[in-house]
């Protein structure tokens, strides 16, 4: 169901007549074509899993990490263009450490998600920047317990108890919906995620 936005899709600062920004939609396509990334919120924490894509047999395993830690209490899994993902994680790390320096406590996950989302959104506002071609699943544990957020290339972020991005997201979401997450511990969660 791809729609061609002839003429209205050349810049992220152009709206189409039916009110869409095509560049952002194309960025989301980049995410949809990448390896699947799943995140679930269990009662005592977050479990994230990524599909291991072996780009080359000569590559050393463990060198193309897609789950990265942001701070002692939070981490991110990226789907889509890996380089874009690295940039987002770097920004998140910097936000987290500066929050800790100023406010004296680890950054609440909600606050971190908002900052990452505004950064991603920022890059959809100017014609000299391109939108990020990656979707990020952000998980963390703060005073209010474990929380899971997903940030899309458009810059929107919602809180989830189960999220999936990438090629197999539909199938993964169906599987996640079958799970009873409020009663699951992280240990059991890891097994469920691995099965998916």
């Amino acid at each position: 169901m791809s729609s061609i936005g002839t003429g209205y899709d050349l810049s992220v600062t152009t709206f189409s007549p039916d009110g869409r920004v095509f560049q952002i939609e194309y960025a989301s396509k980049a995410v949809d074509n990448s390896g699947t990334v799943i995140g679930i919120k269990c009662k005592d924490g977050i479990v994230m899993g990524v599909e291991k894509l072996i780009a080359s047999k000569m590559m050393l395993p463990g060198s193309n990490r897609r789950i990265l830690s942001v701070h002692r209490h939070s981490g991110m899994a990226v789907a889509g263009l890996a380089a874009d993902g690295r940039q987002i994680v770097a920004r998140a790390k910097s936000e987290a450490t500066s929050y800790q320096s100023v406010y004296g406590e680890p950054i609440p996950v909600k606050e971190l998600a908002e900052r990452v989302a505004s950064y991603v959104h920022l890059c959809t506002l100017y014609w000299w920047l391109r939108p990020f071609g990656c979707g990020v699943i952000l998980g963390g544990y703060d005073r209010d317990g474990p929380q899971l957020y997903m940030v899309e290339p458009s810059g929107i972020s919602y809180r989830y108890f189960g999220a999936a991005v990438g090629k197999g997201k539909q199938a993964a979401k169906t599987e996640i919906e079958k799970l009873k997450l409020s009663e699951m511990t992280c240990r059991e969660g890891v097994i469920e995620v691995a099965k998916m």
Binding site: V102, Y103, G104, E105, P108, K110, E111, E114, R143
Partner: protein, 235 residues
């Protein structure tokens, strides 16, 4: 008679300030004297200022410096509360004060006691003395009058007091310091902060208990003939 009272000296708050935790919250207390040199510029000042709905700060040292610091922190905390979507914690308030105090230590002269209640940690008191140290304490004292209270608190402080006990302790302590410290005086103001909110109380100077050696106010010399001897101090 030396009339050379330097009325243009910087306003300093001689001060006695106290913050005490109790079972369920905190009680902050302070005297009300602001002096410029030997002249009392304000005999009824309010040294306990509000930072947020649930956090207050007791100010001592330079009046101007402490007001500016609390104004900045109130502004930052307001923004922080809006972003967070819930009340700020006492720890965050204390940290913001500490950063201003420490990073500007060469220019500022303020000793502050931050006290408040939040849903995660309950009642907490943080002392931030001159150099910008941040220290969490079950009770904290500050200001010139506090020198006379160290021994008193060592003996009278105990863990897990009730709200009434804590408030009585604070009022007694401030009034003892006022009795001995020339730079503290006026009235005793207290602020109680707990899960129910903030309560301000006021104890006028002439209603405070008198201590050993203090004279009863005299209306007529004839009253001295019939005056009883002062009560010895009870612990």
């Amino acid at each position: 008679m030396d009339l050379d009272m330097n009325v243009n000296a910087p306003h300093s708050m001689g001060t006695t300030i106290i913050g005490v935790t109790y079972n369920g919250g905190v009680v902050l207390g302070a005297d009300s004297r602001t002096s410029t040199g030997m002249y009392v510029a304000n005999r009824a000042s309010d040294k306990i200022t509000q930072l947020t709905d649930n956090v207050n700060v007791c100010r001592s040292g330079s009046a101007a410096d402490s007001q500016i610091v609390s104004d900045y922190v109130r502004y930052f905390l307001h923004q922080h509360t809006i972003q967070l979507g819930q009340p700020a914690t006492v720890k965050v308030a204390a940290n913001l004060i500490r950063l201003l105090s420490y990073n500007n230590k060469n220019m500022l002269q303020t000793g502050l006691i931050v006290g408040g209640w939040d849903k995660y940690e309950g009642g907490k008191i943080y002392g931030i003395p001159l150099g910008g140290t941040l220290i969490e304490q079950p009770f904290a004292i500050g200001g010139s009058g506090s020198s006379y209270l160290y021994g008193f608190f060592d003996q009278a402080w105990k863990e897990g007091m009730t709200k009434e006990e804590a408030e009585q302790l604070v009022v007694k302590a401030v009034s003892l310091a006022i009795a001995r410290d020339g730079a503290s005086g006026g009235v005793v103001r207290t602020v109680v902060i707990n899960s129910d909110g903030v309560t301000r109380n006021f104890y006028p100077g002439d209603k405070l208990q008198l201590w050993h050696d203090e004279l009863e106010p005299q209306h007529s010399l004839l009253d001295i003939l019939n005056a009883p001897s002062p009560e010895p101090m009870n612990i």
